[in-house]
Assembly symmetry: D2
Homo-oligomer: 349 residues x 4
């Protein structure tokens, strides 16, 4: 088969490679009908993720069709259309039993396109298939489902649920890239009174308005703390969601939140931040971090299938799977191309 293979920092190619096979009785092999690119893939290509080594097939998101299952797989069958989750779950360890699949101790977690070959390929082996794939209801289109591999459960679990958003809250989302926009969209599910998007790029703030933010702030022109004080009677926001991954944006979140409020960190950080405990110690603040666990995938599938969540709106560009190198180019130049999610479609079998 063909696959997008990582060849060390800065290098990747669409290579001919051997087809994957069943290695364990709980594996499935899935033909990739649709896959997409993630900001994490760009980090890998920069060499920022040392666990990814030369020869690895990238990608951790897919919708596909089951072509083979191991003898212990009981939930899916050959021919089933499934969502492949970015997180694999052994289903047996203490974390999997508590729905924290991202912390799996039994060989799962984020492994696809990381420590084992991934989904940017014509076929992918999915370990622990019973607990790492989701049967798709008839009538649910591939592109909508694909958004549930990673971006929407991440925003929902790590941003919105960790943030504890409640009806009537005022929520600030710092960063209006794809994951910030997903947080805006997912935040609406709990009916906050206001969603405030904060970003330095006006085009992103415009997108945030379309995704459901009712207030936008560009810190290059306005002081977020001042604007939010006006909106919240001087108290600060109930929930601040960090969706960038820099010390500065994290510290902004801790400064914008009201006493008793919550900061939910979604961004991927490479360096420490300063935690102003000299101010925060007495303010009853809760700060959360998290890798997506994908416990919410069934919930989100129900919402998308019922038409309550417009997952597809993230898709800005579409390519044939064979053109994935061009797709990477478009996605990596998001500032110019306004790419949010770039979808790759395989050739029908």
């Amino acid at each position: 088969m063909r696959a997008l293979v990582y060849h060390g920092p800065g290098n990747k190619s669409w290579d001919q490679v051997p087809d994957p096979t069943i290695l364990h009785s709980t594996d499935a092999v899935v033909r990739v009908d649709t896959t997409t690119l993630c900001g994490t893939d760009l980090h890998i290509l920069k060499g920022d993720v040392p666990a990814v080594t030369d020869g690895r097939i990238l990608g951790h998101e897919a919708v596909g069709t089951v072509t083979e299952v191991g003898p212990a797989v009981t939930s899916i069958r050959v021919g089933d259309r499934v969502l492949v989750s970015c997180v694999s779950a052994c289903g047996r360890c203490r974390y999997c039993r508590e729905g924290q699949y991202g912390q799996c101790l039994g060989g799962g977690g984020w492994i696809l396109g990381h420590t084992i070959d991934g989904t940017q390929a014509e076929l992918v082996r999915v370990p622990f298939a019973d607990t790492s794939t989701y049967l798709l209801p008839a009538g649910l289109d591939d592109e909508s489902a694909l958004m549930l591999s990673d971006i929407l459960p991440t925003a929902y679990e790590v941003g919105v649920v960790n943030g504890g958003i409640r009806p009537g809250d005022t929520v600030a989302v710092v960063g209006a890239g794809p994951i910030g926009l997903a947080a805006v969209l997912a935040a609406r599910l709990f009916s906050p009174a206001h969603i405030v998007a904060i970003d330095l790029v006006d085009a992103r703030l415009d997108a945030a308005k379309q995704f459901g933010a009712d207030v936008t702030i560009n810190p290059s022109r306005e002081d977020p703390a001042e604007q939010l004080a006006t909106l919240t009677g001087g108290l600060g926001v109930d929930v601040a969601i960090e969706a960038v991954g820099t010390p500065g944006t994290f510290e902004t979140c801790t400064r914008l939140v009201r006493p008793g409020g919550r900061v939910a960190n979604v961004g991927v950080h490479g360096t420490p931040a300063t935690l102003h405990l000299e101010d925060l110690w007495s303010r009853n603040v809760t700060i959360t971090t998290g890798l997506v666990d994908t416990w919410s995938t069934p919930t989100l599938l129900k919402l998308v299938a019922a038409g309550q969540l417009d997952a597809k709106r993230f898709v800005t560009h579409r390519f044939a799977l064979a053109d994935i190198v061009s797709a990477y180019d478009t996605f990596s130049r998001a500032a110019d191309t306004a790419a949010l999610k770039v979808v790759l479609t395989g050739t029908p079998a």
Copy 2:
């Protein structure tokens, strides 16, 4: 009356001052039968709390007898024996309505011995008396009740409840001074499997064992991370409670906690800490801070009255109220005197 009056950094005296009177219809005046000293009082005396100005009567903990009530007070009467909470609550603002009295917007919060005169006196005016004092059940001794003014609700709310301790958990308490010991005692209420006390002073670790810790670690001799890895199958503790108030001990807590665990900060901090988001972002960690709200006072009163919580064991030294200057001396030399809580008793009326 006589009272302990602050006269600027390093200066205090047991002065003759005017008796307090009812200023607002919701005030009460309480004769102080028993009061105590808090580490915060020592901070004030060093000049670390600029809101406290020359002439202020110190103290925010007391058990006493009501001598006068304003016309709007309905819950307590002259002659009632009451607990005076360290936090006053207007009972009307959004925070008070949610039980977060420490964040009161209506004139309450920590005001006694801070922005208004306090309890280290023969009489004290208590604002918002209906929601800031607690009627004591017959048979509950003054000293036990006094421990519910501040130290026990602080440890219970900010350490144990914020920490979300559940049966079977392994809990680390970093710092075994009075507040850390209170956290050990209060943690037992939720039946963790193990409570690990960590401190540099062996005498404090011995005290922690007596308060309920089953494991103690002195970092000057043993590496806490290593010891806890052994105890927790390499994962780290479920809950870490910071009870010192330094960047180093806070960072230790974030290093000791397992993926999915919680860090509850109780310590009072004067400087920022480093938050290692480059490690923590993916570990599903929750960090909480908080000033005590005293919503738990009725709960703790029930536990003490039922004999389920031995509050009195904190009392190591006793003085007559008039000897409060000597009491301060004993309390400020805790390393030598092994003082935990020093109780001052007034002359019966």
Copy 3:
């Protein structure tokens, strides 16, 4: 002033009565700008509520203007426009401290138009005014605010929050009268996948669709259990809300709910129901009951002010306050008049 006075079962009149005055320091007197009628008022008029005696002014919902405050009232002033809650809260007892104002032990709870004179009058005395009225933001119209006196907090707290509705759930609302429609509207705040309205009257089911139900079932034509089995893969609904108040509809709810689901009773019951524990004991079902506590009033005010909740849509009929007897006639013949909420407007001062 003039007021609607109850004169025993079946009798009421628009009488001249003395103006209310401040009786306690925590009272306010409010000029009624807008009030409404509740199904409970009809029960009272039938003689079903023995605590209401001859001479009582009815009504427990109002928006008005403060004309006088007692000396201990600090949150509102003469001239303020306020919402009068159907539940009064002493703000001091154990229930009020936990936000369960409906169970107030200090003289509050549902007292207006019940054990003291109510709001269907030109003026009303409101006890515990600081904790029983809510200042209205500028720009919020009276009719929208009025829906927050009773019907919306009841549906939100007792139906939706007690029901624990989560995104993606399937929710059945049994009964599509005013309170059932309010439950449909409020349920949307937590983004269920499906809201199923069940009622014997097609006109009510049509209304339910307009309020946000996406499925309707008329049990005179279809078996709800069968329909819901199809919708839920044979399991039953996640949450069933009882909004009628009869044994039969309650038992329907317990039959429709899936294992692990919740039944939230909102209906007012006059007789016992049968609880089929021989089936339910092993099904992990949670059943809740409740009088409204109105802890959610600030939340709902924020949602209405932000345009996230269309409270006004309940208003089907409008009368001058002096025509309240005609309004009662229209409201009591709801089957013919399709009345949901009938609004009475006083003469501007």
Copy 4:
């Protein structure tokens, strides 16, 4: 091998039967080192559980040693000492993913000694072995572990956790048989102020005192409602746990609970109860039911291993496994023999 085989109502015998074998790749076969009898087994023998048919080996509790595992089993190995849970979990269905194993849709739930052969045998086949057995820590004795097959998780999950017991609560446990005593013991883990045991048999009340109840009431001599009113300031208990399974005891629980309180039903019911909604509708009461899910088994194992929970105290009688018919006789005459848990020990291999 030999096994206790059900032969229709009233008939059972210790028969020679074929050894169990691996049927599915996720099965294990376990040699039974220790097993016990449950009240449910007596119900089966009366013919009350029609799903149990002639020829079925009874028993759903065991501690044993793994003798064979299917090819997909990864968590346990031949020779491991394991706890066999009364509930089997497929680990894949929506209920298993949420920890509600008792409601498993994938072939699990309570099946051992019910729909498939059980543990009162020399060997037992355990389906879904990875998620239905628990590796025992060295040093944990068989008898203590055996109490975690059913009785302790049932009391903990269905009684104590569903009841939402919090520190300082007053808890009533209605029924002081084995499951009621387990509820008393498990309730202590959340530090209530008072645990009140209610039973008609004084010997059981004496046992309840030994298990941790501080108040006992025999309704043949005292009115529980009156006694509890005294203890709770007239309000009623915070939590009532039903541990009998009759309409009368359930109705007692709903009568004893305070406004805002919780009733947790643990008893197995064969007939409906009356739910007095005419009183309860306005009292903010929560009622829960449940089959044990055994999500708490790891928690309880940690508590027992740490010496925080004395599981073994339930064991009143011990027999060799081959003498199981005598053991049934002793257990079925509990009123005379004071039997709580009767332990059967197999012959070491």
